[in-house]
Symmetry: C2
C-alpha cells in the first residue's frame, strides 16, 4: 500500500506557519527529536506521541554542538531519504529538518547550561554533550512549541537532563519518556549499532545482560560496588575493551542511590572496538 508523502520543513518560518495552522484548528502537537538514522526505537516514539497528540512532528538534525572534535559527527549515519519514508509509514505529520545554518546562524552566542542531572556519568566522558543537547532541545521546543516531546529511555541521563531543563526554565510542555526498544537478543537499538562488526555485534548483548544482572543483585541486597565491579569484569571478559562507567543512581535525580527512597537505575557505557555503547535498566524501589 503506498503511503501518503510527508511534508518536510527546512526553515523556521515554514515550520511556524504549519504549527500556527494546527494551533488555530485546536490540534495537540507532539515532537519527537531525533538525529535521523531512524530505527524501530524512533518509530516507537512517534507511536507514543500519537497516543495523545493529533499532530506529530519528528525533527531530524545531527547537532554538531553535542559532538566533541574527536567524536563521530562527520561519520554519524545520515539516511535522510529512508528516514522520511519510515516516518511516512509511521503516519508522522511533519519532518522538521533544519540546516545547520538555520539552527546556528552567524553570531549565534547563547547556550543553555544544565548542571544537576547533567553532572557525572556521560559528562565525565563527553563534557560538552549535555550543553549541546540542552541548547538544541531548547531551540527545538521554541521552534515547534509542542504540547509534549518524547525521548527514549535508552539515553536515560539525557532524558533526566531534558526533564530538568524544561522544569527549571518553566517551558510549557511535558516531557514523555519511552521504554528502550531492543533487538531479540536484548541489545538496545541505536543508530550507532551499525558501526559494529559481525563479531562485535555478537558480543554487544553482554551490555544488557550485565546491567540487568547488576539491577537484580542490588535489588536482592548485594552492595552496589561489588555488583558493579563484577559487571565490569564480565564486560571485559566478553570483549569490551574500555569501560567508561557502570553505576547505580537515583532514577530521578541521578544522584546517589538510596535503597528504599524511590527507584534506582543501573547505567553503563563501554567501548566495543571503535563503537561506544550505552544502556540502562531500572531498579524498583
Amino acid at each position: 500500500m503506498p503511503t501518503t508523502p510527508i511534508p518536510v520543513s527546512t526553515t523556521i518560518a515554514d515550520l511556524r506557519l504549519r504549527v500556527r495552522t494546527w494551533r488555530s484548528e485546536g490540534r495537540r502537537i507532539g515532537l519527537v527529536p531525533t538525529m535521523g538514522a531512524l530505527h524501530a526505537g524512533h518509530t516507537s516514539l512517534v507511536r507514543i506521541a500519537q497516543e495523545t497528540c493529533d499532530r506529530v512532528v519528528t525533527s531530524i538534525f545531527v547537532n554538531p554542538t553535542q559532538f566533541a572534535p574527536s567524536e563521530d559527527f562527520s561519520t554519524y549515519p545520515r539516511t535522510f531519504e529512508d528516514d522520511v519514508a519510515q516516518l511516512a509509514r509511521a503516519d508522522c505529520h511533519l519532518v522538521w529538518a533544519p540546516t545547520a545554518q538555520e539552527m546556528y546562524p552567524e553570531g549565534f552566542a547563547t547556550h543553555v547550561a544544565p548542571e544537576g542531572a547533567a553532572r557525572g556519568l556521560e559528562s565525565d566522558f563527553r563534557p560538552h554533550f549535555f550543553g549541546g543537547v540542552a541548547t538544541v532541545c531548547t531551540k527545538l521546543f521554541q521552534q515547534v512549541t509542542p504540547d509534549i516531546a518524547v525521548f527514549g529511555e535508552k539515553d536515560f541521563q539525557q532524558l533526566a537532563v531534558i526533564r530538568q531543563v524544561v522544569h527549571d526554565l518553566d517551558m510549557p510542555l511535558a516531557i514523555v519518556g519511552a521504554p528502550t526498544v531492543r533487538e531479540t537478543d536484548g541489545l538496545a537499538m541505536s543508530s550507532r549499532n551499525r558501526y559494529l562488526s559481525a563479531e562485535e555485534r555478537r558480543t554487544a548483548p553482554a551490555m544488557h545482560e550485565v546491567v540487568t544482572d547488576v539491577a537484580a543483585r542490588v535489588q536482592s541486597g548485594e552492595p552496589i560496588d561489588t555488583a558493579c565491579a563484577e559487571a565490569a569484569r564480565r564486560l571485559a571478559d566478553a570483549g569490551f575493551h574500555k569501560i567508561d562507567y557502570i553505576a547505580v543512581r537515583d532514577a530521578r535525580t541521578l544522584g546517589p542511590f538510596d535503597r528504599g527512597r524511590g527507584p534506582g537505575r543501573v547505567l553503563a557505557a563501554a567501548w566495543l572496538g571503535k563503537t561506544r555503547l550505552i544502556d540502562n535498566v531500572p531498579i524498583e524501589s
Copy 2:
C-alpha cells in the same frame, strides 16, 4: 476616580490559568518585566505594550541571581503596594509576582549563558549579571508566553542581550525596546536614583550631559578615544569618583563602532557615592 483593583498572581499555576483564558479569547499578550520600585519609566513600558496588546502583564521580581554578593540585593527598594497601585492606574491587567521559592525551587540547576552582546561593558564589572538576567527572562517568557516583551533602553546592553537570547533560542516572541524616560534635568529615571543624597542628585545629570556630548563629538568626526577621555575628565570633575566605562559601540552588536556601518551608542557607568549610575544615547549613522 478610584481605579479597578488589579489581580496579582504569585504562582505559575495561577498565572498559566489566566493566560490560557486570554489565549482562548484570542487576546494578544504583552509582558513588562520589572524588579518593582516602579517609576514613570516603567509605566511608559506598560503604555507601549498596550499599543499593540489586548492584555499586559507586569512582572515584579527582584532577581537574586543577577546581583553579586557585594551588590545591593538586600537593600534594593521594595515598594510592592505602591507598585501595584501604579500598575492599576496604568490599566495593566495582571501583576506577576512570584516568590523566590516559586522561581528557583530546590534543585534548580539550569542556566542560560549569553555571550556576544553580553561581552564587556557591564560584564567587566558585574560578571554574573547577564547570566542571571538571561535565565530569569527566559523563565518569565516561558511562564507568561507573551507575544511581546518590552524593555527600556536605559539598560541598553541588557536589551541587546535579551534580543540576542530570544533570537538565538528561537523564542516565539518579539522584544520591543522603549526610549529612556528622563527627569526634567536629563537624569535617566532609575529605581536606584532614590539612593542619591541631595548633593549627589544635583550632580547626577552630568552623566547624561557627558554621554550626549560624546555622541555629538563622535558624530562630528572627533576620535572616539579623545571624546571618551574628555567625558571621563568631566565626570570626575563633576564629582563621580569611579568611572567603570565610557564607551562607543555598534548599537546592534555592541561590538566595535564602525562609522558609516549602522548606528552607534555611547554607554557609560560611573559611581556617585555608593550609587552606580548608567546611561546611554544614540549616535546616528
